[in-house]
Symmetry: C2
Subunit: 350 residues, 2 copies
Amino acid sequence: MGYPLKNRQILLKRRPVGLPNESDYEVVTSPVTPLEPGELLMRNDLISLDPAIRGWMSADEDSYMPPIALGDPVRSSTLSTVVASRNPDYEVGDLVLGLNAWEEYTKLGDIRHIHSFATKMPKDLGVPNTWLLSVLGATGMTAYFGLLYVGEPKPGDTVLVSSAAGAVGSIVGQIAKLKGCRVVGIAGSDEKCRWLKDELGFDDAINYKDNNNRELLGCAIAKSCPEGVDIYFENVGGYFLEAVLDNIAERGRVIICGLISQYNEEVGSGPENIWKLLVKSARIEGFLIRDYVEQMPEAALKIGQWLAEGKIRNKVDLHTGFDNIPASFLKLFSGRNQGKLIVELEFDRE
Amino acid sequence: MGYPLKNRQILLKRRPVGLPNESDYEVVTSPVTPLEPGELLMRNDLISLDPAIRGWMSADEDSYMPPIALGDPVRSSTLSTVVASRNPDYEVGDLVLGLNAWEEYTKLGDIRHIHSFATKMPKDLGVPNTWLLSVLGATGMTAYFGLLYVGEPKPGDTVLVSSAAGAVGSIVGQIAKLKGCRVVGIAGSDEKCRWLKDELGFDDAINYKDNNNRELLGCAIAKSCPEGVDIYFENVGGYFLEAVLDNIAERGRVIICGLISQYNEEVGSGPENIWKLLVKSARIEGFLIRDYVEQMPEAALKIGQWLAEGKIRNKVDLHTGFDNIPASFLKLFSGRNQGKLIVELEFDRE
């Protein structure tokens, strides 16, 4: 691995209105300058594509993380290899998990990448590297903490999951099954619904494309969840949330993990039936995995154990090629991806 | 107290659209039939007027209590005197708290009044009877359980209360002060705001009539709650909730006690910025006091003690006369009442 001469990057040129398109980005090639003392250079082998990135593209200063600055490369979770280091804590060949960007190489220490971090990963875990960005990474943690710590499932609870065939939802449903819950998924195709039931063990699944408004989805939920919804793991928002509140059980819990239907809207829409929270003594609660830093070792251990025992399955939707990042990213918003969306960059392995 | 010959009642003739008006009611006078064995007849001395009654007038079958049937008298909390009894557990002169109706007399055992109950009250409590329907009744319990059990205030928390000059809100704010919180109220006039600050010890108060949209109210909240809102005790809904979510602190808690701005709307409106729950790890939670039946003795004792020690004050907005019930009820929805709204019925005391 020689020191690279140039770096390809996808910069955020302007803040998207609605779905991001190519005029929101600028693809540039820039030289890689030599390392200063303390710096390290990472090659971004795997780029994780997550709905949250769309939020970071917007201008909201009052979010949990500052927006991506215009002109910066698009922030993204990454699994990288250290290709050069002037930092005593890292050596060439180290595998690191980070919050880098849509670029081939990221230099840590570069003031622009203030959110970068580089957590060294063991190289002999015996699992595919993609798992470190999915079920063993933030995706798995999100499912684990959201469902177990925010939702507090009890055996026999009915757990409804939206984006159930997505990266987080598919793990949530499987953990809920392990906890003795009845699990129903909402997904965007009959094929995905079959996958949820036949492969992942969901008790039932609803195709929202056949139930594309509050009334229809509400009816489908009522049918699949005759005792009401005790826990709803929310990844979508909009009419999904209203249809669920129409069916919420007493003391029901809505876990807000994401609101993907809202991310490309200029003005969001809230559930008009929020009074259901009152009459059912129910709650809606948001969370961030950084609230659970202390519990992360427990989560990693538990998830690793379930994987080893074959009790949960991880599905990765792997794409290839730097140029395909923006188009792959859009799959998240069209309901077309299944499992965890990752783009693998190609490098000449010297 | 002779056995009454006739009973005046205000029946729900049709379900109101928007604010209830006189054509939604029918005032009737009917004979009082003799008691059957086991029955008792109560004279409704005090009628409690609460926002929840508006909800019971609507047709929603999936609420925490069935709607008032068309043709039935309007359900209401009441403090009554037993005027005749063929039930061994009650004797003439007993003071009873019940869920009777907008009528002079209620017969318990009457199948129509399936929600009636009659909880005997001690006669020598040394407090005005109106207090049994307010700070020592459901109003006080609502404030106590909502704030303490749902909101879980910690010393130093900023607690914001809407309808702060109302029956529940005024008690919530005072309890929050006792728990070491910084307390800000939202109310509908400068006079009420002065009362909250000067008489009840609120740290600050916002007149929403000067801040009648999300942006203005949000600015006022930001000014009064510079560290953000840790707990919001919600009685209003609509743009109030959005303005608060714009200012919610990390791990903030919104307690849904009521949504009075929504009760007369055909279609409610939900907070479009519900994503704030996600980025702030915050929650919105509803509750009903019946969830806390076991804790009620504790609450009554505690509130009684605070009252005795002069640590909280109770304000009653007392009206007089059966005919004035519907007009008095409307005061709740115009922001004109201050404290607990009760109508005292007049009877010839023989």
